[in-house]
């Protein structure tokens, strides 16, 4: 009978290609105006500066609980979310500051959420891991690893049932792909042909566990074969590559060809959370990735294209530092949620 040749040894060698007959393809040229390119750069810098400010807020005890920074991964959120329309939907995991900012949430309202203030995007009830702005189709960050994937599939199911011209993008990490929810969700999405892109941020670690200790399969695209879902890898340190892939897959979702899995190779340049010194990685490894910092890289690309001068870059950086400072100031000056709201909204329709 049939013998699969997808053995461990063979596939581990082909790290760059998907095991199931994948090929290297060149990213299609991206047609974006200079303004859009600069806007993307601004967003990336905003996220970086915002995150640095978050780390500071955490150190000062203004932010509590768990706080997961997006430093190093900015290109993914900015590229992918930049490819969405205003009607599309996002569902994300807890490392969610970057998505919120890329989706255009006000940095003050995001920081206020981290500070646990009434003016926060979730009224101070959710905190860092649970940002949401449903008016923008941003259905929230979720803190149970992989638990949000079926929710995203459900939104896509509603879209299909309601015959809307929308797609869903669901962000999660490499670690989440080892969880049962990943499996059940991709299978359900596939068998129902739903308009959803599963965007895996492969940063090679789930918390402190290296990807190869958690699975034989370190190229996440390989996992899509189990659902007959078409999968792609993209360079998650390059916002244009992510933008291009997302745009293309989004169109295909609208054409009824979904779902898709998009793997963005990326790296977090800081610890898993603000509490993590990340002793499980070598300095060398981190330095190597730091040298390819996506902001520096994208700045250079834009400089080479003549879109962004050194001065302009400096000015953007200054503006974003100020924006982050202003966000922190806004948060700090915002009132805490009123104690008498504690029991509000446990139910949409309280009874008895």
């Amino acid at each position: 009978m049939a013998v699969s040749s997808g053995s461990r040894a063979r596939t581990r060698k082909t790290t760059k290609a998907a095991a199931n007959g994948a090929q290297q393809t060149q990213a299609a040229p991206v047609n974006l105006s200079d303004e859009r390119l600069i806007e993307m750069y601004r967003q990336m810098v905003l996220i970086r500066r915002f995150e640095e400010k978050s780390a500071e807020g955490y150190a000062y005890g203004k932010i509590g609980g768990f706080c997961h920074l997006y430093i190093g991964e900015e290109a993914v959120a900015v590229g992918a979310i930049g490819a969405l329309s205003a009607d599309d939907h996002l569902v994300t995991h807890y490392r969610d500051h970057g998505y919120a900012l890329a989706r255009g949430c006000d940095p003050g309202a995001v920081m206020a959420e981290l500070y646990g203030r009434a003016s926060g995007v979730s009224g101070g009830r959710g905190g860092s891991m649970h940002l949401a702005d449903v008016s923008k189709g941003f259905w929230g960050g979720y803190a149970i690893v992989a638990g949000h994937i079926p929710l995203a599939v459900g939104i896509a199911q509603a879209i299909k049932y309601r015959k809307l011209e929308q797609i869903v993008i669901c962000f999660f990490g490499d670690g989440a792909t080892n969880n049962g929810y990943f499996h059940e969700s991709l299978n359900i999405a596939a068998v129902n042909d739903l308009p959803i892109i599963f965007l895996v941020e492969n940063n090679s670690y789930g918390m402190g566990t290296a990807i190869n200790l958690a699975s034989r399969v370190t190229e996440i695209v390989d996992k899509a074969a189990a659902y007959h879902i078409t999968a792609e890898q993209t360079d998650g340190m390059d916002p244009l590559a992510v933008y291009e892939a997302t745009s293309r897959l989004r169109e295909r979702c609208l054409a009824g060809e979904g779902p898709f899995l998009l793997e963005a190779k990326t790296y977090r340049l800081v610890g898993h959370s603000t509490a993590d010194p990340a002793g499980y990685r070598t300095k060398d490894e981190v330095e190597q990735y730091r040298a390819g910092d996506p902001i520096g890289r994208f700045g250079q690309v834009l400089a080479e294209r003549g879109v962004l001068s050194a001065d302009a870059a400096k000015q953007i950086d200054q503006e974003m530092i100020e924006a982050a400072d202003a966000a922190a100031k806004f948060a700090d000056e915002s009132p805490e949620p009123a104690p008498d709201t504690l029991y509000d909204m446990v139910y949409a329709a309280p009874l008895g």
Binding site: V134, Y142, R162, A348, A349, P350
Partner: protein, 324 residues
Amino acid sequence: MAQITYREAIRQALREEMTRDERVYIMGEDIGAYGGSYAVTKGFLDEWGPDRIVDTPIAEGGIVGVATGAAMHGMRPIVEIMSINFSLLAMDQICNHASKLHYMFNGQITVPLVIRTASGWGQLAATHSQTFEAWYASMPGLKVAMPATPYDAKGMLISAIRDPDPVMFIEHSLLYGTRGEVPEGDYTVPLGQAEVKREGTDLTIVTYSRSLMIAQQAADQLAKQDISVEIVDLRSLRPLDTGPAVASVQKTNRALVVEEDWRSCGMGAEIVARLQEEAFDYLDAPIMRIAAVEVPLPYAKNLERLCYPTEQDVVGAALKLLNR
């Protein structure tokens, strides 16, 4: 009024609401071609088509999550989980997701989701004979309904479907065939309201779901000994309406809880705790609990029979409570 079964009452509620509201649809394992493991949705696939009767893979966690997402984005999903025992596989979705979102996201998200599932037993052995209503009843953000009669089943299911919050709607496999009066067409029984199902003066029995049947039979038997039993059917377990039970105990001064869950940490414990909090001075005797025996439920018929409360257990406890 027509006498119909508990199963048929639920079928009526489902069809009427699916007719009334296009956003209502049903998802679950084997609800379509198979017709539902307890035949509740038999024929529905032909009647409504595969968009509204959605057969799913065997993935309770995924299914509940998907339905929750659909509810977030404008649908009114009803998920059938064959057995409450399998809801353990969806526990995280029910408790960490569906029940939390409205509050955690400050009212931005609502989850009008109904999870229909069946408690029950019948030589199904340890992993298929449990009931977990007390767990769900502890969960803020979730509503829990557990009707005992066809009338309540239909009226409460309609309420649940129209409710904007997630509702665990817990049926009972041994009730599906029982009959009762049910009006055709639209009526609702509100969630969160207990009801006195039998008036009496000597003793209060607080109960819900199939145990109501046992309690009624026991009350009939006790009536022959001139003992007058009042029976309060909780119907909803969250929010839990203890008003009628408290009022009843203030009258009878003696109370007994009957349930099919294990005794330790079951609903009975909560009912006892509240009754003694709210009616301490009226109690002439400790409140007793009749519940399932605390073992993993055995398959053998003769052993299983020893595990669940019987009419005789209730009668015995009542007599003991009354020092007779």
